[in-house]
Structure formats: C-alpha cells, structure tokens
Amino acid sequence: MKALFKLAVHSAWNRRFVLSLVVLSIALSTFLLLGIERIRADVRENFSQSVSGTDLIVGARTGAVQLLLYSVFRIGSATNNIRWSSVQSISQHKAVAWTVPISLGDTHRGFAVVGTSIGYFDHFRHGDQQPLILAQGQPFGSVFDAVLGADVAERLHYALGDRIVLSHGDGKMAANDHADKPFTVVGILRRTGTPVDRSVHIGLNGMEAIHLDWVAGAPLPGMAVPANQLNQYDLTPKRVTAVLVGLKNRAAVFSVQRSISEFQGEPLMAILPGVALDELWDVVGIGERALVAMSLLVALVSLAGLVAVITASLDQRRRELAILRALGAGPQQILWLLALEGTLVTLCGLLIGTGVCALTIFALGPLSGSHLGVTLRLQTLSSSEWALLGAVLASGMIASFVPGWRAYRLSLTDGLSPRI
C-alpha cells in the first residue's frame, strides 16, 4: 500500500496542472461549505449571545419574534408602545427582581439610540452572563449624557466629552434632528460583540426631554423648549418601547408571563428570549438549509469534475497500467492506485479550502464584526464542520472508485498490451 501511495503521489504530481484545477474546484467548494457553515453558526452564536440574564421581555402585543428583533437586535420597529404606568405595575409584581425599560426610535448617524434607565448597566447581560463594562468614562448621570457602544465610538471617532446630535427616526431628514439639544459623550462601553456595540445609550429622561416639544413625530412650530428651561418640566417618560424583566426565581417565569399577558391596563405580551430565538431559527432555518444545499451541490459538481478528469486521463495511462501489471501489480492494486489518486486530490482540495477559509476569517473577521454585526471567529472546527469535511472526503473517495473501476477493467482487458 505504501508503494502504491508513493506511486499515486508521483503520478498525480506528473499531471499536476490538470489535477490542480480539480483541487482548486474542490477547495472552492470546501471554502463555500465551511464559510456558509461558519457564518451560520456565528450568526446564531451572535444572536444567542446578545441577551442573557433577562428572563422576560415585555412589549405591546405583537409577534414574539418581532418583539425580540426590535427590543434586542434593533431590527424593525415597534408598532405600539407601553404606558409608563404598566411598566411600574410590572416592576411591582412580587416575583420581579428588576425591570429595565427601553425606549427606541431615534438614531445617531445610523446607530440606534436606546433610552433606558441606569439599571441597564447593572442588569443587562450578554454572552455567558457577562455584564456591560465601561471602557472609558461613566454611566449617564444628567439628562444630556450619552454612553456609546464600542462600534459607535470607533466608527465615528468619538471620545469622551464630544457633543453629538440625535436624529428623530432614521435620521434621513435633517429637519428631524434634535439639533437644539446635543448630548455629551460621558462613557464608552467595552466591546461585547452584540447590538449594544452599535447603540447610543441615553437616559429615559433625556429621551423625554428631546421630545417635549414634539407631537406626532414632528417638532411643534413655536413651541420649542430651550434646554435651560427643562427643569420646569416633568421628564418622566409617558411611554416606553419594551421592558427587560429579571425575576427573583426563574421558576416563576411562566406564571409571570401569564399574568403579564392577562394585564388589565393594556394589551401586553411577555416573551422568553430563548424561546423566541428558537422560533426565529425555525424561520431562518429554511434559508440556511437552502444555502447549505446549494453549497453541497457545488461540492457535488466539483467531485463530478474529479471523476471526469481522472477518468479522461486513463486512456493516456494505459501504458503505465500495463507496465505496473508486468511488474506484478494486480487489477485490484490498479483500482486502489486510481482511488488513492482521487482521494489525495480530494484531500488536497479540502486542506486548501479549509486553510483559505481560516485565513479569510482571520483577515476579514474583525471587518465583518464592525460592518455586518456578525463577528466571525477563528476557532477549531466544530463537529458539524468536521461532518461536512468528512462527507466531502467520503464522497470524493467513493467518486474515485469510478475511475478506479474503469482502470481495473482496462487492466484486465489490456493485460500487457494496451491498445493505444
């Protein structure tokens, strides 16, 4: 077998140009398979890392997935808000340990603005129960203080003390800027790899303050409230978008969920983040499977190329096979020689594809983190990635038996005198 292996390597090296094209095509499909698998896994990882330690998320009645998407991932927007009085009732529930209200809708140069309470910095957790940590500065104290996520500070080159202007809505209309009430950067959070990095955090009172003179999404002409007169106004929010709820005892989660959905004051719903995520994956899973199926098809095409190239080369190699037969190689050994060649080519393709994939993740991982919000991490192959590589290798080996079988037949009929 060792002699055959050496022969297969030498023989393949002799035809390296054509075979390298096959290696390239297998490498490409490996890259595609691994890349899609890695993105899929990391997107899931990123999503499930985005919130932890929160037992329930409460919002106006809508779909569970939608509530999760806008409250945690800042994707989409709320159709309805919650009254402040409802928030207070929930926080007084005997099973509730803490509540963190969040108020969304404004942006700063494309980044979401999150109005929240100071409790956000104490209770919000991501990843494996990790708290938010300030890289610089402190949490917001006064009305016009802002705490930036890591990406916001980095991309817009903000430092502590910088003044920023928030925009109403998506910020596309200059008239909707809250230009009269700029905020001061007082803190910058350490990177979390979650949507927090791409958020500007301000106090609920600040959120209220910039909207005092606004009605129905537009500034009221002639009603502008100067920043220095704010102390005459009650800055308690009237409505918030959602509330993150922590319980004293997780076992109570379903009873609290039920009592919130039966809340008398207004129609509310409470979701378990993990359950809502699972629902989300059910939806996303269809697209994921389509992508994986597509890349599997590409792999199949490459393997078909492998079979075609090696089989086509056989006619020129009948002389070689006859020499080996004369030296005492059996038809089975000829079969193995060809099968080994195909397996080697597949293996090379797999190694190169895996290497290129790792390099790409290494090189572009940080970029994808800041631009796409999905942090791709270089790590050892997961079991599903091993399974994919194994499947391609096994298919390559099986496919290699096609030229192997043909060589077997040829060496039987040709014997020592190939008809070339």
Binding site: N14, R319, A326, L327, G328, A329, Q332, G415, L416
Partner: protein, 238 residues
C-alpha cells in the same frame, strides 16, 4: 511460494488459447519447455501470437485448455492475486518500448520491481545498491540515476528496463522485441548487456523478435510459426 525442485522453469503442454469472440484458436502449442538459466530466441513475424504467448507465459492471460506452468505452478490453477505475486516474484519483463514510468527517476524505476515483490527485494539485498550496480552494469552512470526516466533516450530507457527486469534475480526474463526501437550499434551493445547480465544473474531469457540476425547468440532458437499449430491468420492477431 514453494517450488518443486525438479520442475522445468517453464513448461507448456497442449496449450490452446482463443480470444473471446474469436472464431479460431490463436495459439496451439503442444509442447515447449525452458530450463533454468537457458536462453531461448523465439522468432515470429508480427501477428503470429507472440504477445499473446508472452501474456500467457507471464500469467496475465490463462489458457483455455492445456497448461502453462512456471516453476511447476499452473497459472490457471492460481487465483488472480497469486498469479500477480508469482509474476512479481519470478518474472522480469521488458517491453518493446515505453518500459518506464516517465514521472519516476531512473533509480526508482529500477526499484519498482522490488516494491511489488518482497522476494525480489530480499534477493536484491540492499535494493538501492543493487539497482545502482545494475545500472552501472548496463552503462548508466551516477549522474543519470536521478534523472526522470522520460528524459532518457530510447536506448537508455531500454537499458534501464533491462536493469529493472534483472533486479532481485528473477528466474525468468521475458523480452518482447526489446531491440526493435534501437539502431544497429545500440542493438548489439544492448544484446551483449542483456545476455551477460542474465548469465551473471542465473536468469533464463525468453527473447522474442522477428529479427533473425540476433538468433545465433542464443542457446536455443525456435520459430513460433512452426511450434504454433493454430492457423495464426484465423485468430485475432496480437
């Protein structure tokens, strides 16, 4: 594989061979024997079944009737794997041309014979040294050993093929018109080398050619058209 001591090296008895789908026998040889260390010249024009006979002697083909025995082993009674091993162990084969794997070095081409046969590797002793000695014997010096076989001239290639056929002292060397691609000078020197090396090795030589001028150098001369009773024209001639 045990070898009956008294058996002739090669014996053919009442051999009949017919290609599948062919209308008549291609070969019909009643009796032919070759003793150990003997050199035999087998003459025959193209198309008289020479290559077929050699395939039968090397155990790549098997007889339809009768027997072809190498060292007392009837090829037909052996499994295909045992035939391959017997051939690897006891037969060195030289083709008309294109004997070498072009992508291997000259030395590796010679050593290839030992890779398929533990017996010949054992008999060669230090296989690498033996191969080098054989290459020197056939006139290829050290600088040529590392060259790719495909870079050699035809004459050099045939000499490497002879070295490969001889390494590990096989009992029988079969040469299928090995000189037909060589010019006269090369042919003479190749014949000298081959016959001397076979004698030194104690290998029998079955040499097939249509070139009658070579015949006097051999202990025995045979004409295939005479020993083959089949009407060669009727068979598929190969």
């Amino acid at each position: 594989m045990s070898t009956p001591a008294q058996a002739p090296l090669l014996s053919i008895n009442a051999l009949r061979f017919r290609w599948p789908k062919a209308g008549a026998d291609c070969l019909a040889i009643d009796r032919f024997e070759l003793q150990r260390g003997e050199t035999a010249f087998l003459r025959g024009p193209s198309g008289c079944g020479k290559s077929t006979l050699l395939s039968l002697v090397a155990g790549v083909l098997t007889a339809n009737r009768g027997s072809v025995r190498l060292l007392g082993h009837d090829w037909q009674e052996l499994s295909s794997a045992r035939r391959d091993r017997l051939r690897a162990d006891h037969v060195g084969y030289i083709f008309q041309q294109f004997n070498l794997l072009g992508y291997l070095s000259v030395l590796d081409n010679v050593l290839l014979a030992c890779r398929f046969s533990a017996r010949r590797a054992g008999q060669a002793g230090d296989a690498r040294q033996t191969a080098q000695r054989l290459l020197e014997r056939v006139g290829l010096e050290a600088p040529d050993w590392r060259r790719r076989a495909s870079d050699l001239s035809v004459g050099q290639q045939q000499r490497v093929a002879a070295a490969r056929a001889l390494i590990g002292r096989p009992d029988l060397v079969i040469a299928d018109e090995p000189t037909s691609a060589l010019d006269e000078v090369l042919r003479e020197s190749f014949m000298d080398l081959l016959l001397q090396a076979c004698a030194e090795n104690g290998s029998a030589l079955l040499f097939v050619s249509h070139d009658a001028r070579l015949a006097p150098r051999f202990q025995r001369q045979l004409d295939l058209t005479l020993i083959n009773q089949a009407n060669a024209d009727a068979g598929v001639s190969l």
